[in-house]
């Protein structure tokens, strides 16, 4: 079993990397955006699906990191390692700080607190024109480089994104299957029982919150570098809600679901927005359909069906072998 998941991961990684030579530049841009937003959705899934904390303010980490990336890349250096280090550090510190504030609450109060904090950040970015460019955004962010390589072409930037995505997603998936990940699920189910079993519930939540912030920060850096511009939208409720929607549509508490959710939402965003401006309405409808029709999201029912098919196939093969065997 353990090998199965490693093999699946390697095949998945090979497919992702390999498609950088197969897809057209247009589709590579799309795929890059999917990977970036999938990271963001996974960071939300860690909180929402595992710890049971639904945040509507997670864009604060994505957006802040995007602005920091912009400042450094425009004014100082476009070295990817420097940008990565800076954005992870900033989003981690910000997570450590905001976590102290918002983790005092749970449930809907946590949701409102996280939203309030992110709206403050959004307000600052909107008002402080001299620094952020206000609603014009911070434009002219160059693509990153690493010594002689510059990740300008859509295929090279896609490969960079893929590698960072695979590292972060791999670590997150390992995390949720670890004893620590199990403890987070325990907290989701019953925080009081966790305390009564000797867990420092606050500490576990706090660590998860900071990890989640760092992953969202990584997504923010990549988004700034891909778009070449950062606007207050990246800090807004809209961004937080889209991330949460991806996690829920795909299936929260699975880490795989948010990836599927990111594919669904981004493909819709590009496909439908060509024909109508109302694609957000469509997202709302999809959300309602998922909540009513498949409250666990897309991934879990899909997985169950595949597992069922697989085991019935195996059963049939076995039967056939038995039939042969008994004929002899």
């Amino acid at each position: 079993m353990r090998h199965t998941s490693s093999i699946v991961f390697l095949v998945f990684a090979a497919l992702l990397l390999g498609s950088s030579w197969l897809l057209s530049p247009y589709h590579l841009v799309l795929a890059t955006r999917i990977l970036i937003l999938a990271l963001f959705a996974m960071s939300l899934d860690l909180l929402d699906g595992y710890v049971g904390l639904t945040s509507l303010g997670h864009a604060v980490f994505l957006g802040t990191s995007a602005y920091v990336t912009g400042f450094i890349a425009i004014g100082y250096s476009d070295n990817i390692l420097l940008l990565l280090g800076a954005s992870l550090l900033i989003s981690g510190c910000l997570g450590a700080l905001i976590g102290l504030l918002v983790l005092r609450a749970t449930g809907v109060y946590f949701l409102m607190l996280s939203l309030a904090v992110s709206q403050v950040a959004w307000g600052i970015a909107w008002q402080w024109r001299s620094l952020t460019g206000g609603d014009d955004g911070l434009a002219g962010i160059p693509r990153p480089s690493f010594s002689d390589w510059v990740f300008v072409s859509s295929s090279s930037f896609y490969r960079l994104t893929t590698i960072l995505f695979l590292i972060a997603a791999g670590l997150l998936i390992r995390l949720v299957h670890s004893p620590f990940g199990l403890s987070l699920q325990g907290i989701r189910e019953s925080a009081l029982r966790m305390q009564a079993l000797g867990y420092n519930v606050w500490l576990h939540k706090y660590i998860a919150f900071v990890i989640s912030s760092v992953v969202a920060g990584m997504a923010g850096m990549l988004l700034a570098l891909q778009n070449g511009i950062v606007t207050p939208t990246q800090l807004s409720l809209h961004t937080s809600a889209i991330g949460l929607l991806m996690a829920l549509v795909g299936g929260a508490g699975t880490m795989i679901g948010p990836m599927i959710g990111a594919v669904v939402v981004v493909v819709l965003e590009y496909g439908v927005s060509q024909y109508t401006e109302r694609w957000i309405t469509l997202l709302g409808i999809i959300y309602i359909v998922v909540v009513v029709g498949a409250p666990d999201g897309i991934y879990k029912p899909l997985k169950n069906r595949i597992v069922q098919q697989f085991s019935s196939l195996r059963g049939r093969l076995k039967d056939r072998r038995w039939a042969k065997f008994s004929r002899h």
Binding site: S178, P179, E189, S190, R193, M194, Q195, L197, V201
Partner: protein, 254 residues
């Protein structure tokens, strides 16, 4: 210092909820290895007492001592790591996880393993073996992979107890362990509790006087937030005040 420290000592514990005095100057000692029952009608303060001992509620005054150490200011998890274990009156399990996952969470709770982030749970073979052995011993092996929410109520109560016992507590707080069970299941549950190692001190809150008398030699009776009396079960049964507030109530209900 030579004297044996009680496993649990309450010293003049009082707690107010607004104007209501839910506990008043409660003193209680549980000796190591003792099995003590706490009885009392509804509203006697039994559950509040339990919350104060386990750290869910802070007393307005007085002290709680665990194995001779004052724990009044310590949070729940610190008391647990000092050797206290508790169950809940209303079943409090990880409903959407499997039986085995529930148990593993309990087993890793007092170890450093709980902070391990990059190795899968399944690779901690000591933990896995321990969980498997315990489930085997408690005749729950066949339900290992079942989601807890799908278990029968009786099985859930049993798991509730197993989680607390698996951490090898020195003092075990049982909050109405037979609450809601059928007479048959109650019998089984009593047998399981009776068979626990006798070096575990037990403080048992029970509504059901028969269950308390079966499990505990010494009983404390509470009434309106105060300790009414503490004594052997024979003495308690014979006490006219107990008959009045407790049995009197019960006959009135019939």
């Amino acid at each position: 210092m030579g004297e044996i420290q009680p496993a649990l000592a309450l010293k003049d514990v009082s707690i107010n909820f607004g104007g209501l005095r839910a506990l008043e100057d409660v003193c209680l000692d549980v000796a190591p290895g003792e099995r003590r029952g706490v009885l009392g009608p509804n509203g006697a303060g039994k559950s509040t007492l339990f919350h104060v001992i386990s750290g869910v509620l802070a007393p307005s005054s007085g002290h709680v001592e665990l194995m001779g150490t004052d724990v009044t200011e310590l949070p729940i998890q610190r008391r647990i790591s000092m050797g206290m274990g508790r169950t809940f009156q209303i079943t409090n399990l990880f409903a959407n996880l499997t039986v085995e996952e529930n148990l593993v969470i309990a087993l890793q709770g007092l170890t450093r393993t709980k902070m391990a982030m990059l190795r899968p749970v399944s690779s901690f073979s000591l933990l896995q073996d321990e969980a498997r052995d315990l489930l085997e011993k408690w005749h729950m092996a066949e339900m290992r992979d079942r989601i807890v929410a799908e278990l029968s109520y009786g099985q859930q109560r049993k798991l509730e107890l197993l989680l607390a016992v698996s951490q090898k507590p020195k003092l075990l707080l049982l909050d109405e362990p037979t609450e809601g069970l059928s007479p048959d299941e109650t019998k089984k549950a009593v047998a399981v509790i009776e068979a626990l190692p006798h070096d575990i001190s037990i403080l048992l809150i029970e509504h059901d006087m028969d269950v308390a008398m079966q499990l505990c030699a010494t009983l404390t009776v509470m009434h309106l937030g105060r300790v009414l009396t503490t004594g052997s079960k024979e003495a308690v049964r014979a006490d006219p005040r107990v008959q009045e507030i407790y049995l009197g109530d019960e006959t009135a209900n019939v």
